[in-house]
């Protein structure tokens, strides 16, 4: 039965994709392209492109995309449910343990070490996005996109000085870039 197959396949992806996002890609590719032949390599490439252009985790996007193409909207639901089920159980259990044993001195000192590490991880995710946005990932002067750096600083001022809503600022950045490209074309 195709629904069950989709469910189990994405259950595996959900259970074994540590590190989130791009770390899950090879696993998704092996399940969807190599093992089950649900997508061709080219279609998988399209899926990645679409995932980069739309909100949402790549695993959920893949589950929906593959599910709908193979077995319609119910296929998409079966795959998506499979994908989130492991996290639903495991993360809830860890969250429960955390609230229960939060006061333990051992857990307290572990969390004291983890907190600054988490701040660093969040900062790194920002640095990576900005390197790509500014064209710095190629490591050549020519590839630097000055207008993106200007947009970034405008956004920083709106966020820090004027306390603007982050989502408004994100959309504003998109519109600025659209205007820039239309006007310079």
């Amino acid at each position: 039965m195709i629904y069950l197959k989709l469910f189990i396949s994405f259950l595996k992806i959900g259970a074994f994709s540590f590190g989130g996002g791009y770390a899950a890609m090879p696993l998704i590719e092996s399940e969807v392209v190599n093992t089950n032949h649900w997508l061709s390599a080219a279609e998988f490439g399209d899926l990645i492109t679409i995932s980069q252009m739309t909100p949402g985790p790549i695993a959920i996007n893949s589950a929906t995309f593959v599910g709908i193409r193979i077995a319609g909207i119910f296929g998409a639901m079966a795959a998506t449910f499979g994908c989130i089920l492991p996290a639903l159980i495991l993360v809830t259990v860890i969250a429960w343990l955390y609230t229960k044993y939060q006061k333990l001195s051992m857990l307290q000192s572990i969390l004291a070490v983890l907190r600054p590490a988490v701040v660093a991880m969040i900062a790194i995710s920002g640095v990576k996005i900005l390197m790509q946005a500014f064209g710095l990932d190629m490591l050549t002067i020519k590839s630097i996109r000055l207008h993106m750096i200007v947009i970034f600083f405008v956004c920083m001022i709106l966020l820090i000085k004027y306390n603007k809503n982050p989502i408004t600022v994100m959309v504003f950045a998109g519109v600025l870039n659209l205007l820039y490209n239309v006007l310079t074309d």
Partner: protein
């Protein structure tokens, strides 16, 4: 169970998830903005603990983040509400796009807006990182050293996040044992 909290949790998570361009840390940042700074439902330190939990379990960070925040605010029902709200936007968007994705992929205007949004997303993450980073620096010197070390280990030496988390846990355990040993003497 507070119905108001559940409704707000659902609507906020739905809205934030629809704008999670650029990976799981974006929604975590937006959630911090919403539930820590705006609603004051979660403390900043606790939020970092929750992110650490979301990061250490398998699965997408966005979904795991929704699960921990949902659990913290409203228990199991909160988990279900937040998870469903997180999954709906990508599910709907991908369902629609999978039908006419070549058209979407080749639209220049969409590409410009999405490209520009990267600078905005980067600014949102940067502003939150700076603010949380200052909080860490004020706390104590050791936390600052950990933050800087993780930043370098992950960004320059590309050490897997899972190993970094395990190392942090190990340091926390050793610290507790050493302190316990001192007390015993």
């Amino acid at each position: 169970m507070n119905k108001k909290v559940l409704i707000k949790l659902f609507l906020s998570t739905l809205y934030l998830s629809a704008f999670t361009f650029g990976g799981g840390y974006v929604i975590v940042t937006l959630m911090k903005n919403k539930f820590v700074d705006e609603c004051h439902w979660i403390e900043e330190k606790e939020m970092l603990d929750l992110v650490a939990i979301a990061q250490s379990a398998p699965g997408a960070i966005a979904v795991n983040g929704a699960i921990v925040v949902g659990y913290k605010l409203a228990g199991i029902i909160g988990v279900l509400v937040a998870t469903v709200a997180t999954v709906i936007p990508p599910f709907l968007i991908i369902s629609v796009i999978s039908v006419f994705y070549t058209l979407f992929r080749e639209n220049r205007f969409i590409a410009y807006i999405l490209d520009g949004m990267q600078a905005g997303v980067g600014a949102v993450i940067a502003s939150v990182s700076i603010q949380m980073g200052f909080g860490i620096v004020k706390e104590n010197k050791i936390s600052f050293v950990i933050m800087a070390a993780v930043f370098v280990m992950s960004l320059y030496f590309k050490i897997n996040i899972i190993y970094i988390i395990l190392l942090c846990i190990l340091i926390g355990v050793i610290k507790t044992l050493v302190q316990a040993g001192k007390k015993a003497l």
